[in-house]
Amino acid sequence: MKLLTCPLNGPRNISEFTYGGEYHPMPDDRSADSSAWAEYVFFHDNRAGVVLEWWCHTPSSYWFLAERDTVSDQVVRTFAFSELGDTQEGG
């Protein structure tokens, strides 16, 4: 079974985690045009390469972010949401 390293709890079986989808900052819901809003709500990048994802460690209900390479299926790093400022969000 795969391991994923929770920033709070350390490496754990992947079965202890809930996947929370790709991370996308929400556009301003008053000013965004309809297509931008639909893009945000319904579309995923599905990028081949490193993507930024939400993961939750279920037993501790701890949400964090993971950079995962969808080509090699290796998790590059995991970090607390508060450290997001250090990361460049692509797309």
């Binding site: 079974m1 929370g20 008053r30 709500v41 939750c56 949400w63 949401f81």
Partner: protein, 982 residues
């Protein structure tokens, strides 16, 4: 039984042969109803061979006679039936007193299996038979299927075996370094790895550590192996950092160095930081006519019989070889006193090995440049009796005639394939050099090492050095975790390896029966014909021909098949490759995978009171909830009675499963404003408000009530099935919003009941004298904190069932005491419990939806007619933008109430369709016969033009019948909400 008959007098070879047996301990068991006496330490197969019984099983397809091939559990030639388990490997299963063994796959008797005449049908069962028969002519498959189900024996499951005998379970294990394979490389690696105080686990499938050191010959001096083994084992036993797991098969490598180990009835899940694979090699058969006849064995099997069990494989053995291993085997046999009648060496040049030099003493005739062209069977003993030797004139070609030699055992030594399975499961690539006929493994992942013959090392010192190197490499991984680039093997091949594999040990015969795959009875022509049928890729050949799909999973057929496919398609073996290796390595039972089953079940503190009251329980997610109280065959009447009691008197239902979430902090109201659709900022302390939850797409996903207990504290309920997701979602959103609130899931902290019905107030009043329950002091949707029956409680006046009602929530462990107090106190009114079924009827009468039942993945507030619960003027809430987008679009459908009066069989059910002629217009989501209203009522999605009260709906019910219903105003019951406001 023991000692009866001639069987006990069977001679064994002298000591030191027979490492595993105890000569003083006879063990008596039954084979095919006959008593057989073996020795403690024997396997079923070794004990039988000791008695000259080579015939032990029948093949799967043609029912050909079969006997031991590898003596290592690597083939399916000796599958036998035990009383408790089918498909047991006789060559590794230890005998025990009284063990009853039956052969498999035969009709009549093992010796005279009348279904073996299927072999005569072979030309009608061409390769790809199954594929072809699936297609045409239509219907023919069913005819063949009946034939094959009788024909294809796979043993029988004894369903009478008790639970205890099948007491399988699982356990985690942990190691710094796990080493698979307890041969010289694995043992050396373990000793090297354990030096730093790290925890090492050494895994071997055999009962005794040592691997090939237990049976194989590494030098003319046969003591070398034994002395090397004894020294390594001694050091391992003295090292407390090494845990040895014998009789344990590593059946799979999974991501994160997670190894599946099978030991007896247990599946170990071993998580290791580093893995070293020292799995050794698998000896390969020569391919010629009759190579599957009992008594034709691998050289390693012959050596195992001699060295482990002191069993002579025959009285006049012929050795067929393509390398020096054949000479090593012949030398061991000769030293043990077994007559070696001839050595047939496929190579043109005489062996220069030290084994050949030592053999001079025994004057064994050597047929250089020859092969066995055909082996023949003795019809009576069903064992090899004669071989035909022919000179080799080209690749796979022989002279037109040869000489016949009588023999009762033919030993094959033509080469090896690395035991590559675990390495390839981890992503390793197996390569083959057509020039040297050697394999190599590379591209396996970080934190894995390989050593020993699996890594192309054959000389004993080279193997030991390789084990040491692998361990040092693993230690460096542990020391420096940063470097994740794939580790490459050193690439140096041991010079001894050069001659280990004979390049083309395959000799087609005009009459066939040269088996490539013993499990599936596939011959040379079958593989070649598969390529001619257009399946030129090895993966397709496998699926078309079933080659490698039997229990031995291609361990002896993959190389031969690759060679044949390469030859037939004019490519190299390297280009052809082998098929993908996937777990499990060896056959494993479903029981191993099932282990103990864990089905978490949640129960409220009142659970047993429901059971005592005769409740029929149902599952809601992991929770047990009372469906109704009464006998199972009295369901409808019970539900009706419960409904009536709530409407006319007072009922009580356990609502502990309802989700509860505490929202605390200065921004609590702002948080709810953003999260739910309603407005909460102006909500008064001491009041509850309906809370509808949409996702970002504007789809309704949950609901509950938000109780304001303090300016900064809300207690929010959520649906039983939805609370975990709602809670997670709240945390995720607030990470991004950064509001000053704390969110915690308090579902299980509270145990609750809903006390519902016109008499609920007077029951509750007697239990909480400190709270004024009057309508003026404690109005509908009011919330109070106080004591009920002396227990601290939260009381919420809600109306889900449409009557005067109070939800009373108390700390979980007081739940049963609360139930007891209310039931006791309510006796004077005739209080009675009601279940989830009655609640569903009651809420439907009141027109309340259930999220998940009456909504789907598209339901938005407008079509649910719930825009009243959406505060459109708020600056932001989740789903708000999408709801506005949806409102700008034409409405697609509306959830409406409908009613009809029909006989019970015609009452619509969930998912029945609303039709216009043959066009589907919508569907029913809920429908029940209402005891209160005396008619059937329900909810359905319909097009907007059919949503006006009075519209007629045609609903297609069971058996395709159609009924007509009228759209009605919601709620069906008490439209002025007088009763819940009492």
């Amino acid at each position: 039984m023991a000692g009866s008959g001639a069987s006990s007098t069977v001679k064994r070879l002298p000591k030191p042969f027979g490492l595993l047996i105890d000569r003083d301990q006879p063990v008596s068991f039954e084979f095919e109803g006959q008593t057989v006496v073996g020795l403690q330490g024997d396997t079923i197969a070794s004990a039988l061979v000791a008695h000259g019984q080579w015939l032990q099983s029948r093949s799967f397809k043609y029912h050909r006679p079969r006997g031991p091939l590898t003596m290592a559990g690597q083939d399916a030639n000796t599958l036998v039936q035990l009383p408790s388990a089918p498909n047991t490997l006789a060559d590794t299963y230890p005998i025990a007193d009284g063990l009853q063994v039956q052969a498999q796959n035969y009709a009549g008797s093992l010796r005279r299996d009348w279904r073996s005449y299927t072999g005569l049908l072979a030309r009608f069962l061409p390769v790809g038979f199954y594929y072809k028969t699936f297609f045409r002519p239509r219907g023919i498959w069913e005819w063949w299927a009946r034939f094959f189900r009788r024909q294809a024996g796979l043993g029988e499951i004894n369903q009478a075996v008790s639970r205890q005998e099948y007491d399988f379970d699982k356990q985690y294990k942990f190691a710094d370094i796990a080493i698979v394979g307890g041969g010289p490389a694995g043992m050396r690696a373990a000793l090297e790895a354990a030096q730093d105080g790290l925890e090492v686990i050494l895994i071997d499938e055999n009962p005794r550590l040592g691997g090939s050191l237990n049976y194989a010959r590494f030098a003319a001096d046969r003591k070398l192996a034994e002395e090397t083994r004894d020294e390594l084992v001694k050091q391992i036993e003295q090292n407390s950092n090494i845990e040895v797991l014998c009789n344990t098969v590593c059946n799979g490598w999974h991501a994160g160095n997670w190894l599946a180990l099978i030991a007896a009835n247990r599946l170990y899940k071993l998580r290791a930081r580093e893995v070293i694979i020292c799995s050794g090699s698998l000896e390969q058969p020569a391919i010629f006519r009759g190579n599957d006849i009992p008594g034709v064995v691998m050289s390693s099997a012959a050596l195992r019989l001699v060295n482990l069990y002191a069993v002579a494989p025959g009285e006049q053995v012929v050795v067929l070889t393509g390398n020096d291993e054949g000479y090593a085997t012949a030398l061991t046999l000769a030293e043990a006193g077994v007559v070696v009648k001839a050595i047939v060496d496929m190579r043109t040049e005489a062996s220069s090995s030290e084994f050949n030099t030592a053999l001079a003493h025994y004057s064994i005739p050597i047929h250089q440049g020859c092969t066995v062209y055909e082996a023949q069977i003795d019809k009576t003993t069903q064992r090899v009796c004669r071989v035909e030797i022919r000179a080799i004139v080209g690749k796979g070609e022989c002279e037109d005639s040869g000489i016949m030699l009588d023999t009762d055992c033919l030993v094959m030594a033509v080469g090896y394939m690395p035991t590559y399975q675990l390495v390839c499961q981890a992503g390793g690539q197996l390569s083959y050099d057509d020039a040297s006929s050697l394999f190599s493994l590379d591209s396996y992942p970080a934190h894995m090492e390989i050593a020993g013959s699996v890594n192309g090392q054959w000389d004993l010192q080279a193997v030991l050095d390789d084990g040491k190197r692998a361990a040092q490499s693993a230690l460096s991984w542990l020391g420096d975790d940063g470097d994740d680039s794939a580790q490459l093997p050193d690439g140096k091949h041991d010079p001894l390896a050069a001659g280990i594999n004979f390049s083309w040990p395959m000799f087609p015969h005009p009459k066939g029966k040269e088996f490539v795959d013993f499990d599936e009875d596939l011959q040379i022509a079958d593989i070649i014909n598969a390529t001619r049928d257009g399946y030129e890729n090895i993966q397709l050949v496998k699926r078309y021909s079933t080659c490698g799909m039997g229990p031995s999973q291609g361990r002896h057929s993959a190389l031969a098949a690759a060679r044949l496919v390469a030859d037939a398609t004019a490519t190299t073996v390297a280009e052809t490759g082998v098929t993908t290796a996937r777990p499990p390595f060896a056959a494993e039972t479903l029981a191993h995978n099932a282990g103990r089953s864990f089905y978490p079940a949640r129960r409220s503190n009142m659970h047993h009171r429901h059971m005592e009251a005769g409740a029929q329980m149902m599952q809601a997610g992991a929770w047990y909830r009372p469906a109704y109280y009464g006998k199972a065959d009295d369901m409808a009447a019970s539900i009706e009675e419960e409904v009536d009691n709530v409407r006319s008197n007072v009922g009580i239902i356990d609502v502990s499963t309802l989700g509860g979430i505490e929202i605390q902090g200065p921004d609590a109201a702002e948080f709810l404003n953003r999260f739910y659709t309603f407005a909460f900022a102006k909500q008064k302390v001491g009041m509850a408000r309906y809370a509808l939850l949409c996702n970002e797409a504007g789809v309704v996903i949950d609901d509950g009530v938000a109780c304001r207990l303090h300016e900064h504290h809300y207690y929010v309920t959520a649906t039983t099935g939805g609370v975990d997701r709602v809670f997670q979602s709240m945390l995720k959103w607030n990470l991004q919003w950064g509001l000053q609130v704390d969110i915690s899931n308090s579902t299980s902290a509270w145990c609750g009941v809903n006390l519902a019905g016109p008499n609920s107030r007077q029951v509750l009043a007697r239990l909480c004298p400190d709270i004024d329950l009057s309508a003026a002091a404690f109005p509908y949707m009011g919330v109070r904190e106080g004591a009920v029956a002396g227990i601290p409680a939260r009381i919420i006046r809600v109306g889900f069932v449409g009557e005067l009602g109070y939800e009373v929530h108390v700390p979980q462990q007081f739940g049963e005491a609360l139930w007891d107090a209310i039931m006791d106190d309510g006796q004077s009114e005739g209080i009675a419990p009601f279940g989830v079924e009655a609640q569903r009827v009651l809420r439907l009468e009141k027109g309340h939806i259930i999220i998940g039942q009456d909504t789907d993945a598209m339901s938005n507030p407008r079509e649910l007619q719930m825009t009243w619960a959406v505060a459109g003027k708020k600056p932001f809430f989740v789903g708000g933008r999408s709801i506005r987008e949806l409102e700008a679009l034409p409405e697609q459908r509306v959830l409406v109430g409908f009613e009809l009066e029909v006989e019970p069989a015609l009452i619509p059910k969930e998912a029945h369709l609303v039709m216009a002629d043959e066009t589907m217009l919508g569907r029913v989501t809920s429908c029940v016969q209402s005891p209160t209203l005396g008619k059937a009522i329900g909810l359905a999605y319909v097009p907007p033009e059919l949503s006006a009260p009075g519209s007629e709906l045609t609903i297609k019910v069971d058996e395709g019948k159609r009924v007509t219903a009228q759209v009605s105003q919601l709620p069906f019951y008490d439209p002025d909400n007088q009763r819940q406001q009492l």
